[in-house]
Amino acid sequence: MMRKPFAITLDPGSSLANHTGNWRTERPVYLDRLPPCNHACPAGENIQAWLFHAESGNYEAAWRQLVEDNPLPAVMGRVCYHPCETACNRGQLDSAVGINSVERFLGDQAIRNGWKLAPSAPATGKHVLVVGAGPSGLSAAYHLVRLGHRVTIHEAGPYAGGMMRFGIPKYRLPREVLDAEVQRILDLGVELKLNTRVDKILDSMHAGNFDATFLAVGAHIAKRAFIPAGASAKILDAVQVLRSMEGEGKPMLGRRVVVYGGGNTAIDVARTAKRLGASEAIIVYRRTREKMPAHDFEVEEALQEGVMIKWLSTIKQAGESTLTVEKMRLDESGFPQPTGEFETLEADSLVLALGQDVDLSLLEGVAGLAVADGVVQVGANMMTGYAGIFAGGDMVPAERTVTVAVGHGKKAARYIDAWLRGTDYAPLPKHELAGFDKLNPWYYADAPHTVQPVLDMVRRQSTFDEVQGGLDETNALFEARRCLSCGNCFECDNCYGVCPDNAVIKHGPGNRFSINYDYCKGCGLCAAECPCGAIRMDAEEN
């Protein structure tokens, strides 16, 4: 033993010998929580993850992460109604992250730079028939081909895109953008047969020797309303009008156009009529603006362009150049009731935009298939009552949007893949939600939302140029960096810094952190000061 001074018995040493971890009653654990944006995206995009790459200016990595789930970012960035932004936690701080505009920026970057996709799995030898080249069919084809299956699309129309081409007007979705994203999917080896209507699904399946089918025929039959009309009254339906915009002969609507209906389709037709030279485009809708199914920003844009809207009105009769309109009032339960007051509207044509039904004729004679409310019933695995036939998009019960359709395509592809391999596809259990209460918002820089440039009014009323402009690189980066990275570590080093016990181990860029439980006393500071809610305190056992 070393000689020690008086009354000293121990050698000097480090406090590392003292394992203070045994004081702990709660332990911090790192976890990934589900960002509310991801949770709300019908296409199941991992938004937080692609924004993470965009934040550092790595747009290609961001785009590659994005297209893992959705092959149409440039389209989505224009037409998606972005429920992700409605759910975004930043909305509770100042305003939501402009997810949709960054998505569009990434999609456009990819087109500009010619970024390509690559199939990821070895060929399986299985062959899948996809019926309909709308967003749902294209999405399914994309995911199936990446899973190693051969895919053939039968499309009745002369071009791919479905309602993205024959419904959504050019001023919202330029066709070069649609073409580029469709082509990128076809480049993966998806076979597209245009002008190929499927009349009997089982016949087509047998003829092509297909192993499975994904149906995505959409909803294309216009709903009619009974309106007594003179022989010379010009009555058209909205889908037909918008479809003919893609052909040679543009629709002849006249100078005074009345559109009947309150959905987005009614708005699109009225705005299209304006651009075709109508001096008046009037939407007649039986309820109030608040009750209108169309999105408010679209109503706003239409009003700005000079579209007029008659609320609380129904059309009773159509003559050669006039319409009889009855005023309505809302009853206590919010339903419109007739008032017996009538007025006359001048109109060269009446366009009905009352919704669409699904053409189910190709399914006649398919055993076990269930139809309710005019749509095909599917299970949680997107399979119809007939084994091997799956369906998605507008033809199944769900909200009718491009994004839902794309989401169905992805989901169906995963189940079709499992079905073809004779296995079960079990989606990973969802992480717990990273609600706003899980965040420590103090740490985020104050930064208001970036406003997208809007096309000037004259061009909007007379041309089909795109109305919404895109972000440029600086404001896309700014917008991406507004993301709070909800529930997912973004390496801010706060936990590593604030631990009074030096019990957080930093593993370096990209490798995150861990806790040294030998010394962690469980004070909870790391969890409280983690800006994004990526640490949870769990009770210690005993």
Binding site: I8, L10, D11, P12, G13, S14, S15, L16, A17, N18, H19, T20, W23, E55, S56, W442, Y443, Y444, A445, D446, A447, F478, R481, R482, C483, S485, F490, E491, C492, D493, N494, Y496, G497, V498, C499, P500, D501, N502, A503, K506, G508, P509, N516, D518, Y519, K521, G522, C523, G524, L525, A527, A528, E529, P531, M537
Partner: protein
């Protein structure tokens, strides 16, 4: 302010690190090779603000002096929890003084280093003295004032947890009015510590006209590190007063330590500023103005103000103190940032 806050880049300089910032704009604490002057295994309470503040400050000083540093430590929690013989958590040259003579011991070491340098030895070694508010504002005050007055080449850091915590939470001259301590019970008409007494040591230090005085909190790391770094660039007597919440003595949750420090600054109760030669040169503006209640409510030492019959009169007096600080130091910014 000695550093320019970076507002953008997602979290800017609000967080400890930030992968989007240039490495030189990140904090010393974000660095995987920080000194960790105060290592794991120390016996400070869960969530101790003093342990955190000391590592923040000394790591920054080590980084600023290229590790040429000696620290002198007064008796108090920081010494007791870090160095129960024969163990120590310190990973730097460190010496324990008495409770009241830290400034004098540091002066002596600085003088010895000066002689060594004259005799051709290492002339780069710098000295820090550190202690609690009791050791600084009360028992060590005479030695400290002398050190200031002689302009000795020492940085003195006071870790202010507003009481004698190590001996069981007694009142010091830095304990705030109305706070309950073991010696200022929450009884009678004026429960807790009295109003109108106590010492404001940063102002007293400024009155000595020393080259550098600053206040900081454990809630703003970039600011704290910048102030320590600035202090180490200056020779002569320097003083930094760091606000360090104490969960045990304040009756606060261990995970509220940083939040409380943030609230002390945001309410205006603890003005964060720096001064050179007796004049204030910069203040940290309040980012989100808040009433003092938000700060007081989180601490059981103020619980008697919020019982069945809330003492709105006492709270109003505390609010008036905050408002006076806000006026005096111009803590509000013109337009919200």
């Amino acid at each position: 302010m000695s550093y320019q806050p970076i507002k953008f880049y997602q979290t800017g300089t609000f967080t400890v690190g930030n992968r989007l910032l240039e490495p030189e704009d990140r904090s010393v604490q974000a660095n995987m090779r920080r000194t960790n002057s105060l290592n794991s295994g120390h016996r400070a309470c869960q969530g101790c603000g003093e342990a955190l503040g000391a590592r923040y400050a000394i790591d920054a000083a080590m980084s600023a002096t290229d590790n040429q540093l000696i620290a002198v430590n007064a008796t108090g929690c920081l010494e007791v929890f870090s160095t129960p013989y024969p163990e120590t958590s310190w990973q730097i040259p460190w010496i324990h003084s008495l409770f009241g003579n830290t400034a004098a011991v540091a002066t002596g070491i600085a003088a010895a280093l000066k002689i060594k340098a004259i005799k051709g030895g290492n002339d780069r070694v710098r000295v820090i003295a550190q202690g609690g508010d009791g050791g600084t504002t009360d028992i060590g005050f005479g030695c400290l004032s002398g050190m200031f007055e002689r302009n000795d080449d020492v940085l003195y850091i006071c870790y202010d947890n507003e009481g004698y915590m190590n001996t069981g939470v007694q009142r010091s001259s830095a304990t705030p009015p109305a706070a309950r301590t073991a010696t200022t019970m929450a009884v009678g008409e004026q429960p807790g510590n009295v109003f109108g007494q106590g010492k404001n040591l940063p102002l007293i230090a400024m009155a000595h006209g020393i080259p550098y005085v600053a206040t900081a909190t454990v809630a703003d790391l970039h600011d704290l590190e910048a102030k320590v770094t600035r202090a180490m660039q200056i020779h002569g007597a320097r003083y930094i007063h760091i606000f360090v919440p104490c969960p045990l003595g304040w009756g606060s949750a261990s995970n509220d330590t940083i939040r409380l420090a943030r609230l002390a600054k945001e309410t205006g109760l603890f003005p964060v500023f720096e001064a050179e030669h007796g004049e204030v040169t910069a203040v940290s503006k309040i980012r989100r103005p808040l009433p003092v209640d938000d700060y007081l409510k989180l601490q059981r030492r103020f619980a008697h103000l919020f019982g069945a019959r809330p003492r709105t009169d006492v709270i109003a007096r505390i609010q008036a103190q905050a408002d006076r600080n806000i006026r005096k130091y111009q803590l509000l910014q013109e337009a919200p940032q």
